[in-house]
Symmetry: none
């Protein structure tokens, strides 16, 4: 810097904690959603992120903490995607509202599939010592469930709490199933895009619940 005035003090790459942390999270997210919890070895994350393993431990307490951070961050992205779409108009029909909701879910999943992928992987595991990452996914997911209940409560004022919760559970399960099918990819048909099918299914269930009540 002292040598010449025009030396444009190169943007020092050194010691930018946040950026490094982000790069590590990027690598970890990609790997974790490919290989699950056990498969995400620190050494692979190290290789993919370009940081030595010991640097990863500067930013994260341990592997568990790292993966929990991945879940947390990808959930934020997911939430963002979920709110990017406008809510359906007040005077829309139930069918329109439900379709809109399904579209939102599909969109969110398409935009940040890592969240659900890794989350479901963790969800399927039932090991004695539950990693914090799993707990974090569960927490986040139950929030999504409560949101769905609230929406349905607005749209179906005549439904009681029990029915609303059943409907919400069904909706979430449906989204999970569509996602799973896409991931496992044994279907020739890309279900994720079939927003209308999701809506039709939900309406079918609404009908069922209404009959039972009546």
């Amino acid at each position: 810097m002292s040598s010449s005035p025009q030396t444009k003090s190169v943007p020092r790459k050194r010691s930018n904690g946040i950026a490094a942390r982000e790069k590590i999270l990027d690598a970890a997210a990609r790997i974790a959603s490919e290989r699950g919890y056990e498969g995400t070895s620190i050494s692979v994350v190290s290789k993919r992120s370009g940081f030595p393993a010991s640097s990863i431990y500067w930013h994260f307490k341990n592997k568990d903490d790292l993966i929990a951070a991945v879940i947390e961050r990808s959930f934020a992205a997911w939430l963002q995607a979920l709110t990017d779409l406008q809510p359906p108009g007040e005077d829309a029909t139930l069918e329109e509202k439900v379709t809109h909701q399904a579209a939102q879910f599909s969109h969110a999943i398409e935009v940040s599939p890592d969240f659900l992928r890794l989350g479901l992987m963790l969800g399927l595991e039932h090991r004695p010592e539950d990693p914090t990452a799993r707990k974090m996914f569960l927490k986040v997911r139950s929030r999504a469930f409560r949101n769905a209940v609230k929406s349905f409560a607005e749209w179906l004022p005549d439904f009681d709490r029990g029915a609303l919760e059943e409907l919400a559970s069904f909706t979430v399960a449906l989204a999970d199933g569509f996602f799973m099918s896409q991931q496992v990819a044994d279907a020739t048909h890309d279900l994720m895009g079939r927003v209308d099918m999701q809506a039709a299914a939900i309406l079918g269930v609404v009908e069922l619940l209404r009959q039972k009540r009546g």
Copy 2:
């Protein structure tokens, strides 16, 4: 490691081969469905089954082979459960048939959940080197898909191939989703038992497809 010097090795009775193999598979199945592919280490299987690691290698070529065997065996159990129920009568209504099918699925899953659990875990993973276990699950699963297509073809003679496949995909996705919900267990409601909801959803979709065609 189970027979390492520290573990006082009980003089093992020259047990017959098949029983040993079965015990190993039992242990492996339990562990794999708890912890997934990577989490199923030979040494844990050894500890849980009571056989030294080297004995496991006497019965199975390698880890991959062991887990493939687990999948294979649990698929057999699943198939058995699936055929225990009688097919619906010829003259049943569509609703009855669909409900019956859903009940069959629910039953099969309840009877041997390990198959689906481990299978979905493997399905979610997308690693470069695909373990045989994963391929085996995919094969088995696509057979289930084709069966569903065949059933629907009988029940809905007016549907074309494309519609039938969409319907089958949907059915499978729905079952997956219900299973996931039960596993993740964030729902207050046990969806697996809600055969009527599954049927209602499918009928809703049938209706949709029928409209589109018309």
Copy 3:
């Protein structure tokens, strides 16, 4: 072997578990007594013993277990050395008996100093999570203490339990101190050999206790 009858089936070095275990213990004992618990890294033991680290873990559960085994084994050697000497004659004077005992201790320490060295190192440490090795040393040591009490009880029938225990504690402390001095080696004089000094000190204390009682 099939090629020629005279091939003297070379003494197979392979798979001789006990011998390997012993070699590992030898290496570990040497290192541990040089560098203490923390300083005894598995990788050094591996290098010194010629076995890869993973082989060490076949024979010992973990580092703690290994060092506990070292203590255990070297205690056996020590006990052996302690009993190699004949007990003093029944009709010997107290001075002769005490001198004999001191000689025994000195001898035992000289023959297998590793036991005391490592033991005292562990004894000095007071970390929260007490390694089993330390506990083992303490156990072994309290046995030595009880033996001393028994000896003194025979030689000094007029002493009460309290006095006997004080005397035994003193004797042990004295031996420790002499050993320490030799190890730290700041003294120009090799105390270990001065059996007569140890005896004189003990007799001085016997006298003191006798006065207090009288």
Copy 4:
């Protein structure tokens, strides 16, 4: 590591340098006397003292230097404790003088046991690369030895140099032994307090040496 991103770093007040140094030494002393040289990792000292590792390096050249400083400081405390007591009167009997000396030692050890504890730990280790800390302890200790020789020379003018040194060695060894016993704590009796036993032992040895000479 104490200030890693996970640990929410409380905005540290620009504390004055000496106080920080002292706090680090406090932490290091406690840890070193619990776990010895190897066990005293910079990161533990950092956690316990509340200062980031890099700050420790600002105050001390390296780990070795830090522990040497610990020894140095605790030696000062020890020396202080040693001189707090007045010397015995000129016209006291030998027994009184020796008892007084023993009391002094006991007191000093009780007041600052860390010095001896850590010192003996280092003394027991015989590793190739001798840490400065060990050398410092040895130096300090040999000074104590020379002091003892000088005292005895005054009290026992008829003893030759050799005898005086043997006596001093014995005294030091005895103190070590008593300390060890207390640390290892296998004795039911708290020997440290038994100043009279130490004195009696020394007098016993004085007697022995006198006989040999005579």
